[in-house]
Point group: C2
């Protein structure tokens, strides 16, 4: 019923081995023979059997791209960019040549699912795996990840991190593209301070995430450098509506804890966390959000409280997603070159580009000053 390589061989009057050779193109074959074989392939409408091929070759043409939340353009942009480098432009025939199958796996931010997908990819003998976005900083999970990745690398799977710092015990087997979240966070807060803000609220992402921690650390570095981390009062711990907890970051003084609310990286969380923040500290003049999506929620909350942006309160985001420039007022944020980073990760996964020296490259984050931040009143 289904046409096999042998059928093609018969029709082209060559051996199966020869057909295999022209299809894989990594072996000398006479031009005339190749011609004949390709014609037979088209005539018969032959499609290679991937599993059989992978079984024999002990490797597949699958490349996995893990993301935390594919509904978030932050990940969509990186994943899409990576795919452009992996899937190949196609030859316009739809016949599928040597290109790999770049597939996106949505972990939903769950450590378990992350591990499960890695196992699934290991099972498929994936050629490479790209891990995007922040990692969960849980010792048990980190150990499990390290073990799993080691096994994958061992089986010949190339490992690339994109927008994620390398594992603490990370070996040189992986290439890592890390965003300068700390530097970006610092410069953003420095900008607010230079504008004259002294009480700055922070709507952070979920705890136990590298991205969350680094951005928050940058924020606090800036505060400390400006001498704004003193604790006028001994603010008590408190949780936001979304079940988050006050930041327990290394640098947090009591007051800073009070000015920090954690929550998921989504709009709703930004909204609720901001209300909580305004309740706790009605005198904040600026709010820094974990990312642009959260910032949008923060803006809505600020407005619903009857305050104007930036006249009454400045709001800033992070990432510079496409919609951020269209917010009203346009969002001050930190631009991350998501597309470029994703594309580079894709190339690294394909072995089309050499890993950075030391295996890790830091991607610069650029401050984008726009209308949502201004000097405080008075």
């Amino acid at each position: 019923m289904t046409v096999t390589l042998a059928d093609v061989a018969a029709r082209a009057r060559v051996s199966p081995a020869t057909v295999s050779r022209v299809l894989n193109g990594n072996y000398p074959v006479a031009a005339s023979t190749r011609e004949r074989v390709l014609r037979a392939v088209d005539d018969l409408d032959y499609v290679l059997n991937g599993p059989a091929s992978s079984l024999a070759a002990a490797t597949s043409d699958l490349v996995g791209i893990l993301v935390n939340d594919i509904a978030d353009p932050f990940f969509g942009i990186m994943a899409g960019a990576a795919q452009t480098q992996i899937g190949g432009p196609g030859d316009g025939s739809g016949r599928a040549g040597g290109e790999k199958l770049a597939v996106i796996c949505n972990t939903g931010g769950s450590p378990e699912r992350e591990l499960t997908y890695l196992t699934l990819l290991q099972r498929q003998r994936a050629a490479a795996v790209v891990l995007t976005g922040g990692a969960v900083e849980n010792p048990a999970h980190q150990a499990a990840m390290a073990a799993k990745l080691a096994k994958l690398a061992d089986a010949g799977t190339r490992i690339v991190f994109c927008g994620r710092p390398p594992l603490p015990e990370g070996d040189a087997l992986v290439a890592a593209l890390a965003f300068d979240n700390r530097g970006g966070g610092r410069r953003l807060t420095e900008h607010l301070i230079s504008l004259g803000h002294r009480r700055i609220g922070y709507v952070a992402g979920p705890p136990e995430r590298t991205t969350t921690r680094h951005r928050l650390e940058g924020h606090r570095e800036a505060l400390r450098a400006a001498g704004l981390d003193a604790a006028p009062d001994g603010g008590a711990e408190a949780g936001s509506d979304s079940g988050a907890e006050a930041g327990g970051g290394a640098a947090g003084s009591g007051d800073q804890d009070r000015l920090t609310v954690h929550g998921p990286y989504d709009r709703r969380s930004g909204y609720e966390a901001t209300l909580e923040l305004l309740r706790r500290a009605p005198d904040v003049t600026a709010i820094v959000a974990a990312n642009d999506t959260v910032a949008l929620g923060a803006c809505a909350a600020v407005r619903d409280q009857g305050m104007r942006i930036p006249q009454d309160i400045s709001v800033a985001g992070f990432d510079d997603l496409p919609f951020s420039v269209d917010a009203v007022p346009a969002l001050t944020t930190v631009r991350l070159p998501l597309f470029e980073a994703g594309a580079r990760a894709g190339r690294l996964a394909m072995g089309k580009e050499n890993p950075p020296p030391g295996g890790i490259a830091t991607i610069a984050a650029e401050l984008m000053i726009r209308g949502s931040t201004a000097a405080p009143r008075g």
Copy 2:
């Protein structure tokens, strides 16, 4: 070096077949035996060889989800939702049980890449394929797609459409979830007309796309019903900056053509097409955009021209993406239940849900009236 099923069998003192049976769980096995096997699996840290398994079983656990643009939340939400139904929640062990590998393939809206991905999926003997979003209405491509899908279905791959109408010559082999784009478009324009608008511009998506055509048809239906499709002048054909062409829709009168500008489904296109529209017809009092992303660009253009929304011009979108409610003013749009549709498509792909009667279900679109539309001045 790499541990195989036979190794597990030896350690568990059973036959390879038995191990296979407990792993696949679709065959009776004594509890004690299963226990022993599972322990051996864990002890040996065994991971099934996917290709070998797929080869022997003549089917894989891969499910492909095709999207036009994964950086667009419209697709991200559907794809993510589908994956929740396919990937399985995991058993918390990261061991990967019977779950499928749901993978997202980003076609970038290119017909060639769509076909290529389908071939790649066919090569992998995918268990199912979910095609999301609008289709390209090009006869040659449609024929190629029909042929390819027929072959896939023939090989046992389940085909599901999500947010895309079934192919003209579509057989009953596929289940289709189609959005009511036409009805949504009609109600949206009816809403504007009821507000008193008479000159309504339309920033359409790319031509040759079902989604584009259906939404535009709905728009024109509403105009016609209100007697607004007359052609006061014989507007000449004209293209937008983004290389788009004036709508050649079936119902387009000369004037309507002049009030319609096509372009890609992105923010920039919305911006430029709107400028073009305002140049062509400075007297429009409302602009309907192909989707929310385009609407955001339209809003920016309107503002950059010194006009206010909705006082000077009303703007409406389509899809009701998460950010739309946060636009200022909040965007009037048509809500599509993207998550629910994606999840249902995922279930259909898994065979966990029965196909709708006739194989095709229409998903209702709900008008969301918000601040960006109001009665025209005067």
